[in-house]
């Protein structure tokens, strides 16, 4: 098991456990803090796509299982990992992705604004899909939008600090 696979394995365990033991249990303005998306945000670049989808599916399934939201988180995580390369390109511009490498190696030289916009886009799109599927009604679009906005802001603040503390070197 090389270092990237080990890293993935530990992130899987630690992020999923901390999500359903700690972050699922406190609500801020009626919204849970979804830090589990960090797993997708710092997922190694240029990884085997099929494997990435399967790992994401299992990760989503585990979090769904402990959040009693059968399939909803898995669905939105799969969409998130699908659109991640496009958001990366949008936020950081084109860069050389020939090797399987950690995200931190790519974004180490980028500005704070670029990193923040990457985080905002990832979280906002993920929460929008999540809430749309969860509420599943076009008449309640204002509710979907409000929930998305509040939970994105809360999750971005928490995730940013977590990333700063734990993933600065290893992201």
């Amino acid at each position: 098991m090389n270092s990237i696979n080990q890293l993935l394995f530990f992130r899987f365990i630690i992020l999923s456990i901390s999500q359903f033991i700690i972050f699922n249990n406190f609500l801020i303005f009626g919204n849970t803090v979804n830090i589990y998306l960090i797993f997708i945000i710092v997922f190694p670049l240029n990884f085997n796509k099929s494997l990435a989808y399967i790992i994401t599916f299992i990760y989503g399934f585990v979090i769904d299982f402990f959040s009693n939201s059968f399939g909803i988180i898995t669905f939105s995580l799969l969409i998130s990992i699908l659109i991640k390369p496009y958001i990366l390109k949008f936020a950081f511009g084109n860069f050389d992705v020939n090797k399987v490498r950690k995200t931190s190696e790519y974004i180490s030289g980028t500005s704070l604004y670029q990193q923040i916009s990457y985080l905002i886009l990832m979280f906002f799109i993920h929460q929008l899909i999540l809430n749309s599927v969860e509420i599943f009604s076009l008449q309640n679009f204002d509710v979907i939008f409000n929930k998305t906005l509040i939970s994105s802001i809360i999750s971005i603040i928490f995730s940013y600090f977590l990333l700063l503390i734990f993933f600065r070197k290893n992201a």
Partner: protein, 266 residues
Amino acid sequence: MRNFVDFIIKNINSIIFLILISISISQIFSRNYYHGSKINLFSNSLLNSINEIKTELFEYFDLVKINQKLVIENSFLKNNYNNEYDYDSIITENNYRYIPSKVISNSIKFSKNFITIDKGSFHNIEIDDGIITNRGVVGVINNVSDRFATGISILNSQLKINAVLKKTQHFGSLYWTVINHQIMELEDIPKSANISIGDTIISGGMSSIFPRNIPIGVISDFKLPESTNYYEISVKLFEDFGSLRNVYVVKNDFRGEFNDLKNLNE
């Protein structure tokens, strides 16, 4: 086959993604009650509209059969009308109009049963109109709203209707004894009427509510108490009130005139 394998190898990422996303979607709709009911509602409404179109289409193709049925019914009605005309040339049934309607609620288990139908004052239904089927008398309208009307069922111990022995034309009153929803009692038939089990009872047409000659039932039992000159007759109804669905409301256009004239004598 080789092309197929090539295609799969080439698109393995998309295929895996599609499989995983469809598993998660099926999870969403099968395990979450809310999403399942929403998708059910949607598919049901889609299915209903398709069914409606199908029914309309096939109804069009069935028109030949419907036409044949109508021709048979028409000839039957014409024959009956002619018989009636020969039998009595003064009283015809032209002053009666029939409004088809459906039974919404009906009861048979109480001593005073009522019946609700889906037509009301919007459809010209008024208090004291009769309710009949082709197999018998059902009741009399007692309350009318815009779209609904209620009637006193003949299975109501307070209602008496005028009935006639078809064979001898003796008339009497038919009322319900609450014991059995298929049996009613006929009183006031005099001893001189020569009756037997199986004789048909029809409506009398003397009350201006029901037309004459609507079949009601057959005599199932009768006895002659010693002290009186009148029979006590049990009548088995043709209509099964337990399964009443389609009825006609019968309106007498001349009822007002008839009642005014009747009141002059009283």
